[in-house]
């Protein structure tokens, strides 16, 4: 079955340092979504990437989708304590019949700790 691997599992940074998490799929994705889960909270949608090679920015966050649509990354510039949480990528694949019902396969997540 489809697998989505995400690294690293943990990342500890000093406030102001940059952070990157990487996501790799065993199959070509139709799109990829990124979610953030604050400690004690639930996952919240950040962004969706659809096109090969797509790059999107949200303030200090930069999201990339690989040319082959099998990998993605999230980069945070100059981390702040508010960035603390777990970041998940989630891949969406259409099956052979052209359906998916919105089913996502999530990576294991990267837990980000920011030291002030």
């Amino acid at each position: 079955g489809q697998q989505v691997m995400q690294i690293p599992q943990y990342q500890h940074v000093q406030e102001g340092e940059d952070f990157t998490t990487y996501c790799n799929s065993s199959t070509t994705l139709s799109n990829i979504q990124w979610y953030k889960q604050r400690p004690g909270g639930h996952p919240v949608f950040l962004i969706q990437l659809v096109k090969s090679g797509e790059v999107k920015k949200q303030k200090r966050l930069t999201f990339q989708f690989g040319e082959a649509k099998k990998n993605s990354s999230l980069h945070i510039t100059a981390t702040q304590t508010t960035d603390v949480g777990t970041y998940f990528c989630a891949g969406h694949v259409w099956d052979a019949g052209g359906t998916s019902y919105g089913k996502l396969t999530f990576g294991q997540g990267t837990i980000l700790t920011v030291h002030p």
């Binding site: 979504q33 996952p43 949608f45 019902y101």
Partner: protein, 115 residues
């Protein structure tokens, strides 16, 4: 604003008990999902539903069943709870627009402990 609610935030049950977890969404979404979240394993899909009375197995359906009698409500049932089903359970919903799928909206989660 989309709201997904779950019946309990915390639940403690005994081995062998039948457990019902309920999820309600208020945005008329077609798709609903049940995940379990365990440290280091991310979110794993248990079951999902794309319409009333329709259900599909996810990646880890063993030991679980689901029910969707109304569009806004999706229930997860543990027929005979076991200690390895101790976990955080998350419900989510998403809409289908023009053949594409939008982001998933998650409920607050139910932390289930099976003793």
């Amino acid at each position: 604003d989309v709201k997904v609610t779950q019946s309990s935030r915390y639940l403690v049950k005994r081995t062998g008990e039948k457990v019902f977890l309920e999820c309600v969404q208020d945005m008329d979404h077609e798709n609903m999902f049940w995940y379990r979240q365990d440290p280091g394993l991310g979110l794993r899909l248990i079951y999902f539903s794309y319409d009333v009375k329709m259900k599909e197995k996810g990646d880890i359906p063993e030991g679980y069943s689901v029910s969707r009698e109304k569009k806004e409500r999706f229930s997860l049932i543990l027929e005979s709870a076991s200690t390895n089903q101790t976990s955080m359970y998350l419900c989510a919903s998403s809409s289908r627009e023009g053949g594409s799928y939008n982001e998933q909206f998650f409920g607050p989660g139910t932390r289930l402990t099976v003793l």
